[in-house]
Structures are given as C-alpha cells and as structure tokens.
Amino acid sequence: MKIFDQIAMCLQNLSRRKVRTALTTMGVVIGTCAIVVMISLGVGLQRSQEAMLAQMGDLTKIEIYNYAGAGGQSEIPNLDDSVVQQIAAYDHVEVITPLVQADWGKITIQCGDYLYQDSIYGVYPEALEKLGYLLKEGKYPSGKEKDYTILFGEYGPYSFYDPNGNGEWYDPNSGDDPPVDVFRDEVTVSVGIADAETTEQEAPVHEAQVTGLLMGDWNKGYETFYGAFLPIDQLYELYEEYDEVNNISSSSSTAFNPRKINYNRVSVKVSDMKYVDEVETKIQELGYETYSMESVRKPMQEQTNKMMLILGSLGGISLLVAAMGITNTMIMSIYERTREIGIMKVLGCVVGDIRTVFLLEAGLIGLGGGAIGVLLSYAISFVLNMLGSGGLGSLLGGMYYGGGDATRISVIPIWLVGLALVFSTLIGLISGFSPANRAVKISALEAIKHE
C-alpha cells in the first residue's frame, strides 16, 4: 500500500467518527495547552529575571580578583601576561584584559593649566569595545598609535583641577562646561617626581592624544565615568621612565619589574552566558577569585527550572489523561472495525499496512491536538500578557522586577512549539501502539465472522 493511500484511509476512518475524533483530540488540545502555557509562564519568569540581571551587570563577564596572591607569599602563580594569555586561549573566551590602576602620583595628565586628578587605568586597548564599553564620543584607541593615547570616562573632562587655582570643583551634573576641552586643548603626560630632593632631572613631557570619551555606566564601574584609560604598554613605559627620573635602581623592591607583574583585576568576556560557568570554574581552578553574575543567576535559574518542572508536570498530567483517551478511542475503533480488518487481511493487505494505518490515526490525533493546543496556547498567552501588566503580573513577577518594561509573564519560544508538537505526536503514537498491534493480531477468519 502506498503511504498516500494509508493516509487517505486514516483520514477517512477519523472523519467517519467525527464526534469521537473531536473529543479525543480535545483531550490532547487541553493537555498540550496546559503544558505549553505552564512552561511559557516559567520561560517568561526566566526572561524577566535575565532582563533584570542584565540591568545589574554584564551576564557574560567574569571579573578575576587577585588580591591574595600579591607579594608571592602564596602558592597561586602571579597573574601576569602569560596567565592572561592562557585564559584567553580557553574555549569560549572572547576577550580578556587586565585592569591596572596606576600607582598614585606616578603619572600626571595635564591639559592646558589643568591637571587630571582621578584614577588612571592600564588596559588592553583592543579589548574595550568587546567588553561592552560604549563610546560617547570619538573612537577607541587601536593600540598601535605611537603617541600616548588616552580614553577618558564620560566625566573625565570634569576631573581636571587648576593646581594654582582655588580648588574649584566642576560638577558634571550642573550643566556647566568642563574646564578643559580634551579634544582641542593640548594634552600631555609625564611622570611624577617622588621627591624633588633626590633628583635633579626634569620629567620629560610627552604629547598625548585623546581618542574619545566613554559612555558612563555604573554597572561597568566607576572608571567609566571618572577614569582615564591608557594602553597597558604605555603605562609600563611611563613606570620605567618614573624609576629612571626618580633614580630608583632596578634592584630596588619598589622599582617596576615587568617580571613581577601581578594583575589584581582582570576582566574576561565569554561568548555566551551558558559558558560562563565552565570558564569561571577553570579560572578558579588556577587559584584566583572570580566574580560573575553567574553566582546570582544560577540559584535564580535553578529555582525557575524547578518551578518550570512543577508547572510542566501539572500540564503533563492532563496530557497523560489525554493519552489514555487516545488509547481508549483506538481500542473502541478496533472493536468496531474488527470485521473490516479481517476483510482487509483476507483480501491481501499485509499486516504492516494495517498497523501503519492505526498508528497514523493515533499519531494524527496527537499531532492535530498538539497543533490546535499550541494555537490556543498563543491565545491564552496573549490574554495573560494583557492582564499581566495589571493583576497577575505583579503576583508572579512583581518580586523580581519593579520596572514594567519588556515584562511579559508568558513567553512561548519556538522550541516550545516544536517540543509540544513532537511530544503530542509521540503521545499519540505511543497510545496507539498497543491498539495497533492488537489490530494486527486479529485472526482474519474470526474477524470476518464478527458482526
């Protein structure tokens, strides 16, 4: 028998008993609907949690804090460039940069008569963009410039003061113009003089180019507002110059030694949230302390998953009932059609074809019910979301998100649709399996005598 004929026969059989087919399908519709809506609530909850976490910080970022290992009295290896490169080579690591806060007073940034008075940081300049630092103005340093390049935080220009002035403080929120225009005015960097008595040298003054201003973001940190970023190589060049100018011998413990670099903060960005755990574990195995949103996200997600499982099981129960309905319908149908099955067998229909027809019928009830169930779920989901902004929303999600933006309480992702269809079809096939085999085992001779 051709599959087309089998399908035609199956449709014919189903349409002959319209009411029963409709009722059985309705069972599957309700079951599928229950599962899909329940899970969609879980997904909605998960989405809103993620949105909330994303507001708190970048979910794909891991910060490495390394204060314990400083000084070499610990077993943990120094977190230097080689370790950074090692981590950079891990799977799923997109970008990595150390964040070095320059020692106080070693470096001076000057713009006209004004001196920069806030923290200076050394970073891998090419990492900034990928780490999600947004620009307010200008561009990112490429790291290949010959000149010293500076990228200021959003309020960087307000962090200048006049050393000869009366200590006036410029408030970025006041609407006043900053004291300097870092793009127009000449900006220079130089090293500080630790003690004017131990050195006669004048610190050389280097021209510097300001490439841009960052967009301030409290989730990324203070430095995006008030910091000044230098490429890390340029920072170390200035360190060496500082030692030279201040006559600090390279054997001195206070001297800068590139072999003793031990970053105490390194930012790692992972390509996707799902790899954060894996990468973070690997870094922790190296002995460093880390922080990521994962530590907040994970328990939250576990809770949500648990909730989804409970909600899904509730839906599952109704689908189980529907499965019994299918089995019952198919068994009934076999009793009614015993004689027909017998005739088919006598006329030379191979048993495989008979089984296929019955399985198709059961599978079709499952698939049809699943499809209608999914459509109905979309409708229910729509209504829930409409109501959700009011009563139920605050009940379910209110504890997680205060702001009402992008908060749908019921979300049906496409995988859920696929899952629902596959699952309901499978339920149909499984329910139809034993009746189909029963049909196959009917003795042709008995069947044609059957009335």
Partner: protein, 276 residues
Amino acid sequence: MDKTPFIQIKDLRKVYKLGKERVVALDGINLTIQRGEICCILGTSGSGKSTLLNMMAGLERPTKGQVLYSGKDVTRFDERRWALFRQKNIGFVFQSYNLMTGLSGIENVAMPLMFRGMDKDKRTRIAKEMLREVGLGNRMKHKPTQMSGGQQQRVGIARAFVTKPKIVFADEPTGNLDSKTTMEVMELMVNKSRENNQTFILVTHDNGIARYADRIVTIVDGRIVKDEANESIARTREQIAADQKAQQPADGKEVEEAAPLSEQAVAANMSTEGAE
C-alpha cells in the same frame, strides 16, 4: 508424475480441540485441482468444507498435511507471505458479501488494487470497468447500504475478480440471495472464471448451485466421499470453446486467453512476492 498439478492437497488433516474433546474437521483430504477448473466442494454444515477452503486460502493452519500450489508448499507460509500470496493470486466471494460499509462500490472494488500499491486513478478506472462488467454501471458510487443483496454480491464478485487472480474462492456465495439472483450471480462468476481461465472453487451445501461446476467433490465428516465430473457442464464448456473458435477465428487473443496456460507458465506466474 510428469506434470505438476495446479493445486494439490495432500493428506490434509485438521483437528480442533474443544475443551477436552477433539473434533476432527478434516480427515486426510487428498485432492488435485487443475487450472481453469470450476470445482464445487459440496457438503452439509459441519462437514469440513469451509475448513478446507480456509486452509487453502491460508486463513487456518492444518494440523497435518500439505497444500501445494504449482508444487509449492504454502502451509508453512507466515502471515505476511500469505497476505502477499492472497493479494496476487486469490480472490474471495463471501456469503455475507463483506463489503466495507463506509466505502462506495468503486472504492470497495479498488481496494485489493490499493493493497498492491496501484495509483488511485488507475485502480479507479479498472474498478469502474469491472463494475460495468458485472452490470452495476449505474450504481458504482453507491454505498453497500444503498444496494440490494444481489447488487452487493455483484460488488463482491467485482472485487474478487478485479485483480485477475488465478484462483477465486466462493464460500456459500448465494446463501443470502433469492433463487433468481442466485442464478444470475452464479452465471456471472462462472462466466468470469471461464473468460480468464481462472480456477473457481465453490463451497456450498446447495445441490442446486453445484450444477454450475465442472466437478463436484462431496465431503462428509471431513472425508471426500464422492468426486465426479459434471458431465452436462463439461460438454457445454467444450461446446462454448468450439463455438468461440468457430465464431472468431481471426481474434487470436480472445482464444488464447480462454485456453489453459501451460503449467510451467502457471508456476512462473504464481508469484508469492507481491508488490506492496
């Protein structure tokens, strides 16, 4: 034995167990049927005639003995092979018609062709023609419930002959029909069988319809008690063949189809592996 018989039944025995009692339904049947033969198995209710038919069609397994088709033992066939064998080689006419109530006349007749995997257009065309041949050209689209008994049986006959099977079994085909319709139906089946040189095996308790057969095998208590040629019909058949030859000397095809095939050709045609 220089020639392999078309159907050969060897020492066929069937014993049923009813509780502790053993009922011997068939007690050593030996029977040889030639291709194109119209054979009536005559017996009273409980004589074992239906059991014999069921075993020849693979609907029941014998306790002992063999059924050979062109020398091939079919008694050990599994269910699937039997289904394919019936699909290819056997047609059935039942006492209670056994039509599909939900299907139209055409669909009922086309069903065995569908089992073979024939295209819908083609099988519908063949079924229509077959229905016209049995005289139901104007009721093809009716459902069995909208037909008289005689019409239903004609649909049954069309269904049995539509695949041009080598053997057609009919189990009390006229049991539910009045005497006029019985005559029409019997003539229809016998003529159809003769047309295509099909072997027709009629199982009945009715002496009246047994006379349509070339040969009457009488069974009593599971044994063949009488096996005789029906002289009048045999003569008539020869007469018909002679008439046909005389009337249509140019139309070779018609004659060729009516003439019995050689047994080798039958053996070659008697395929057990049908298309699904």
